[in-house]
């Protein structure tokens, strides 16, 4: 009895808080799907399949973390898919030109961080909406990528295989990256001044400025960090696919922003929890895996993903005032 009421109190507290309540709902939705899948097919609940899902969502999850940070600061980066493509293609091109894995990856990461920083600098200097600035930059980065590839598929070096390797034949290396990135981002957002400033800017830019936050500098850091995360996502994709092309990151734009939104990050900024984004990513991965296992045509998967995004927005706006 006492335990029950304490449980209810805890639940009430969680439901009162917007971000934790959304995470709870996400967890429940995820559990329902997983339980359903366990009964629907015996191929779902197998270590191999679970690890498959996790490997498949690695790049998405890392890009989603970047998108979440940018959105928490009140911005958005539409170039995320293009940065992944550009960075991957540059790396593959260097490998093709005979450079070693190390230098190629280094330059690929620099390209990604550079593109992110450039986005941030342009947004800060133009004082324009991040949406418009990055919309324009999408085209710039696409053009650059095509210049690098000449429209061809670029093979990666045969030594660049970490994305397909597993530890002890079970744990895929990308999953370790995914975990490391999420722990690092969690730490940055929660325990560093940079993270706190990022929330502050997104929540109330005016008050943030008056509290002594250097808004412009901080925003550029946010976009640069996003670029770095996209670089990691790109390297993992490149080594998994063992080749790069100019559209390799395109599908991630929609999915990464979806993962952040499903996870409770708002476009208006200032709110959001990185674990929510993680659950959002897993939800997208599990649903797409489930639909595959149930042999649902991929056309329907688009419809389902879209419906989930809209549904998540509905849920997260329950209780907020409407006009």
């Amino acid at each position: 009895m006492a335990l029950g009421s304490r449980f209810l109190d805890g639940l009430k507290k969680i439901m009162k808080n917007k971000s934790t309540s959304q995470i709870l709902l996400l967890g429940i939705a995820l559990a329902v799907i997983i339980i359903f899948m366990c009964f629907a097919t015996d191929r779902f609940y197998q270590t191999r399949n679970i690890m498959n899902i996790l490997t498949q969502i690695t790049a998405l999850g890392i890009a989603g973390a970047g998108a979440a940070i940018v959105m928490i600061s009140g911005g958005i980066d539409l170039t995320l898919g293009n940065i992944i493509s550009l960075s991957g293609c540059v790396t593959a091109a260097m490998m093709g030109a005979g450079y070693g894995v190390g230098p190629s990856v280094f330059v690929g990461m620099l390209v990604a961080i550079g593109c992110g920083t450039l986005n941030g600098a342009l947004i800060v200097l133009s004082k324009a909406e991040p949406f418009i600035v990055t919309l324009g930059m999408m085209s710039v980065y696409t053009g650059l990528t095509l210049l690098v590839t000449g429209g061809m598929n670029l093979p990666a070096s045969s030594e660049f295989t970490f994305g397909r390797d597993r530890i002890g034949d079970i744990l895929p290396i990308p999953v370790i990256f995914l975990a490391a990135v999420y722990i690092a981002v969690y730490f940055i957002l929660k325990y560093t001044k940079f993270g706190r400033r990022t929330y502050a800017i997104g929540n109330n830019t005016e008050a943030a400025f008056l509290s002594g936050i250097k808004i412009k500098r901080n925003k550029i850091y946010v976009y640069a960090l996003n670029g770095g995360l996209l670089g990691i996502a790109s390297m993992i994709m490149l080594s998994r696919l063992s080749s790069a092309n100019s559209v390799m990151g395109d599908a991630l734009l929609m999915q990464a922003i979806a993962a952040a939104v499903i996870g409770g990050v708002t476009l208006s900024g200032g709110r959001g929890n990185i674990w929510g984004v993680f659950l959002g990513t897993v939800l997208i991965g599990v649903i797409s895996n489930a639909l595959n296992l149930l042999s649902v045509a991929s056309f329907y998967q688009y419809i389902v993903l879209g419906a989930i995004i809209v549904g998540a927005v509905f849920v997260s706006n329950i209780g907020s005032k409407s006009r």
Binding site: K190, K193, R196, A200, N204, A207, A208, S211, G212
Partner: protein, 512 residues
């Protein structure tokens, strides 16, 4: 209907007006908000062709009155007649339809549309259903513009006009909607001398056409230039109504002040300490004229003046919200001029802004979260130690009695007074030498007010430099060691000792 015999004596006698000339008649109007009466049994009349000026301190109830007349507020009791018809349904559209037009500064004007389109914005009545008839629009616009006697081509883009012409367009817009009553709220607040003269001329012309004008201004020179009659409001009550010839500036100001001395907070004296804050010729073009003053440690320096006189702008320069063009700020000879808030905080300056909701708090986050939002930008280091800071916050919670469940509670659930205390703690925690308050007790209850005053005195004891902007006259008079007065973006007077009283402050703030 109002009959001739119902008219109060002054104006059926001296002005020789008939009842049918009365365009606004207000009887015993009262309005209160959550138990506080802000407008108390006021009666008021406006005759066609008359310019009736409304004067009073900040917060005396002028805006409330305008909002009732324009339909934004519904009075709790009392009656309002427009052109003899009683207003039953208070709502902006109804009042507009009855002929009451209110003009705020540059409201609803679209710079990228033509003058004619601006004049008929919202009802392009000249056109057939759904379609624009530009020719007719321009013709109609020419007609109403002619009424203002300003030479404006209706096909010009509004953005090309100067501010007097824009004002004329707004007035023309009101005329197009068949205004019987025109309300002008502080129309000259940001005007230079030349524009002001042009506007006053325009207002007189409009009145001469038989439109009743209610004119609100903080500038007594304008009032004496324009008014046929002047009504004085204080603490939501109508104090007096005079014909222009019956009154002097001194009498006007005396009527605007005159509070009971019991209302004033009684502060203890604080020994001033060595240490000097010097502001020398601090200015920014088109923002603040060069300002200079000095103050001692432990002093509370009040800044008075009417809303819009440049008080907030002056402290914005001190705190670096806006980077100054020139001048310097020194603490004991050390340069602390700040180009942005970051530098200002490092220099030991802090600013508690007037608008907590908009610029003081992070509403989505907790009390503790808000508490550290400034200190993290002053101290070095990358890491955030929220738990450690929360312990410090607990001290503040006890010391200045913040009513909260603790550092984890979201700040939005606190009352206004307690939110203000959290904001205060946030800034005190940065250990600032110069503490600037912009309207420190706006929108907070009496008990919390006293707590804020006590805290200010405590800070004075500690030897801080305290600068306080206040529109709350008793607060300004009771707490300040000295008062600087701002008017039209410059410092115009300094009052100290027994000169700090309502009458002197108002004379310096609005006198001609």
């Amino acid at each position: 209907m109002i009959k001739d015999k119902d008219l109060p004596p002054p104006y059926n006698r001296t002005m020789n007006k008939k009842a049918s000339d009365i365009v606004v008649h207000v009887e015993d109007c009262t309005k209160s908000f959550s138990g506080v009466t802000v407008f108390d049994r006021v009666s008021f009349d406006l005759v066609a062709g008359e310019i009736h000026c409304l004067v009073g301190e900040n917060g005396a109830g002028k805006s409330t009155f305008i909002k009732i007349l324009s339909g934004a507020y519904v009075p709790d009791s009392g009656r309002v007649f427009i052109c003899g018809k009683e207003v039953k349904n208070f709502n902006p559209d109804v009042l507009k339809a009855m002929g009451v037009q209110t003009i705020y500064q540059n409201q609803f004007l679209m710079p990228d549309l033509s003058v004619a389109e601006n004049i008929f914005m919202g009802d392009f009545a000249a056109g057939k259903k759904g379609f624009m008839n530009y020719k007719k629009l321009v013709e109609e616009a020419e007609k109403v513009l002619a009424e203002t006697e300003m030479d404006i081509d209706p096909t010009r883009m509004l953005g090309e006009l100067d501010i007097t012409e824009r004002q004329a367009v707004q007035i023309a817009r009101s005329l197009a909607q068949e205004a019987k009553v025109l309300i002008l709220d502080e129309p000259t607040a940001s005007y230079g001398k030349r524009e002001k003269t042009a506007l006053l001329k325009l207002v007189k012309k409009i009145a001469a056409k038989g439109i009743g004008v209610i004119y609100i201004s903080h500038h007594l020179d304008e009032v004496f230039e324009l008014a046929d009659r002047v009504t004085i409001i204080r603490d939501g009550k109508k104090i007096a109504c005079y014909e222009r010839d019956e009154i002097t500036e001194q009498q006007l100001i005396r009527d605007m002040v005159g509070r009971d001395a019991d209302l004033f907070y009684k502060r203890e004296a604080v020994q001033l300490k060595d240490g000097l804050l010097e502001v020398k010729g601090l200015y920014k073009k088109n923002y603040i004229e060069p300002a200079s003053f000095t103050m001692c440690r432990g002093e509370i320096l009040g800044i008075g003046g009417m809303v819009g006189s440049g008080r907030t702008e002056l402290v914005s320069l001190l705190f670096g919200v806006v980077s100054p063009d020139g001048g310097e700020v020194l603490i004991n000879g050390t340069d602390v001029t700040s180009k942005d808030p970051y530098t200002a905080i490092k220099n030991g300056i802090c600013l508690i802004t007037e608008d907590r909701q908009h610029s003081g708090m992070f509403l989505d986050h907790s009390v503790g979260w808000n508490f550290v939002s400034a200190i993290i930008n002053k101290e070095k280091g990358m890491l955030l130690r929220q738990q450690k800071e929360n312990k410090v916050l607990e001290d503040y919670i006890g010391r200045i009695q913040i009513k909260t469940q603790g550092p984890e509670q979201e700040i939005r659930f606190l009352s206004g007074g307690n939110q203000q205390k959290v904001v205060l703690s946030k800034w005190l925690h940065t250990n600032a030498e110069v503490v600037i308050f912009d309207e420190p007790t706006k929108g907070i209850d009496i008990g919390a007010k006293e707590d804020v005053y006590k805290l200010m005195l405590e800070l004075a004891h500690e030897g801080k430099f305290i600068i306080m902007i206040s529109s709350d006259m008793p607060e300004l008079v009771a707490l300040s060691d000295r008062v600087l007065i701002m008017k039209e973006r410059r410092l115009v007077a300094e009052l100290s000792g027994s000169d700090i009283n309502e009458e002197k402050i108002l004379t310096a703030s609005i006198g001609g």
